[in-house]
Amino acid sequence: MKIKIQEWDVYSLGDHAIVFSLEAKVDTNIVQCITALATFIKDKNINGIIDIIPSYHTLTVVYNIVQFLNPNTNAREQLTLFSNNLLIDFLNQHKTKTKHQNSIIKVPVCYDIYFGLDIENLSVAKNISVEEVIKIHTSTIYEVYSIGFLPGFTYMGIVDEKIQMARHEKPRMNVLAGSVGIAGLQTGIYPTNSPGGWQIIGRTPWNIFNREETILTKFKVGDLVQFYSIDKNEFDKMNEHK
């Protein structure tokens, strides 16, 4: 199944998912449109839709074949009809809406070299002071473009070119939960201790992933985030990591 409605491409992903896709760009308007469509579909509570995954410019909708599709009609035609009607409804409702009004989540980060294992290297490589790195990292309002890699791993952008740096060629064996890193134009937070290749510039005392059903993650795709700098003492006081 493959259709195009205005700027949207819709296509099947195997036999149990479809993808709604916009232009492949890291762009605030695009991700806002994707999350708006995600909410629109979620609110419809459609029988048989089991996962709705927004990420950058795509929305992947996973369905249960038996619950979602009618056995007596051609699957391709059903999916085409479904996507067509859904997008037309969505575009009609969202014509008038413009910019989002999400509040900004302020996230404390300790940039001390005790946590920011790569901040000195990054400052040398980019030929600016550590203070400048912190100033630039904390002055941008980031947007959550995707969550994945690990449960709760938060991909945010867009990082100022002055502090952009590629991943390590060889990932570290263990990056601490809460570590804040840079990978190219993205900045992200490690939810749990794990191997990882991002340039680590600090650590948040927040526990951003919790197995408790009512909490799970602190962020969702489309959220706005701004970091602020705290010192080691403040970190210890706010520390949610066990």
Partner: protein, 303 residues
């Protein structure tokens, strides 16, 4: 009422139909690798199809039953032995308190299931008992509350289903069917031809997250670097070195490598049972065919 792990296996876990509804938070769905064999165990035991089962790989965990249970072993044949007596697959088996189940030798397949005619009373996480990348550890108690003792006299009713599903899951000669994905059209002509012509082989790098397969090196006509987007089980991701990794039950929720296509759901159990070194070919199929096959198999388990 529990089952004790007295020896830890290589990578065993408890699984069910999986944990859907949380992939937007990066929580992978997990669930049984070979769902058909797991369903078969539950069907034979008159359980709900979603009842939690043990999923074993070889070398497998050794289980001590601290209660009487009726169990059923399906999927891979690892030569199951109770105390020192070997037992049959695909049959309800009564086990008594203090019996020990050992898997002796991997004869056929990669993934074995133990269904229990009992309810797992350990807490659910987000609606599922499926382990999420964790494995079963030594000395752990898995708490199954036994149902009434099962009548194993009248078991002929599932005979045909067992035969059909065994044939389906362990047919090593049938091709693995795929539906083209978004990066399909970016494959070079030579690669596209190679993907559908030459055999591929399961490598030693294969686990619940994904199976690395080896075969002809494939190339794209564009750079293999995409913004991450949602993936499903059965997704064929093209790695930068030209090899393919097939995403399995514990797959990451998003991926940034070229998404070449998906193995259809009904062929995944067969693929999941392939041992290291097993060779196979890919073949294209239609969405229509994939959906119809899935529905056929699903419906066979409904009565």
């Amino acid at each position: 009422m529990s089952i004790k792990i007295i020896k830890k296996g290589l990578s065993d876990s408890i699984q069910d139909n999986g944990r859907y509804g949380y992939q937007h938070l990066g929580i992978q769905p997990s669930g049984c690798m070979d769902i058909i064999s797991a369903w078969l165990a539950n069907k034979i035991l008159n359980n709900d199809l979603n009842n939690a089962v043990f999923e074993l790989h070889f070398p497998s965990s050794q289980l001590l039953f601290e209660n009487d249970y009726t169990i059923c072993i399906t999927g891979a044949n690892f030569v199951p032995v109770i105390n020192d007596k070997s037992i049959e697959l695909n049959k309800p088996i009564h086990v008594s308190k203090n019996d020990i189940l050992t898997m002796f030798q991997p004869i056929e397949g990669r993934t074995c299931y133990i269904g229990i005619h009992a309810q797992l009373t350990d807490p659910l996480w987000l609606g599922s008992h499926s382990f999420s990348k964790e494995t079963i550890q030594k000395d752990v108690l898995i708490n199954f509350k036994a149902n009434n003792k099962m009548d194993t006299q009248n078991i002929e009713s599932n005979k045909q289903l067992i035969e059909e599903m065994q044939k389906w899951v362990f047919d090593h000669h049938a091709p693995i069917h795929i539906i083209p994905g978004p990066a399909w059209t970016h494959l070079s002509n030579v690669s596209l031809n190679a993907l559908l012509t030459y055999p591929f082989e399961i490598t030693t790098q294969a686990n619940r997250m994904g199976f690395n397969i080896s075969g002809p090196k494939l190339t794209l006509t564009i750079e293999n670097n995409f913004l991450s987007s949602g993936v499903t089980r059965g997704t064929l991701q093209l790695l930068p070195n030209g090899d393919i990794i097939v995403l399995m039950a514990d797959h990451q929720t998003i991926g940034g490598y070229a998404n070449l296509g998906q193995i259809i759901l009904v062929d995944l159990p067969r693929f999941a049972q392939f041992k290291t070194g097993q060779s196979f070919k890919f073949e294209l199929t239609s969405l229509e065919n994939a959906n119809q096959l899935y529905r056929n198999i699903y419906e066979k388990f409904q009565h």
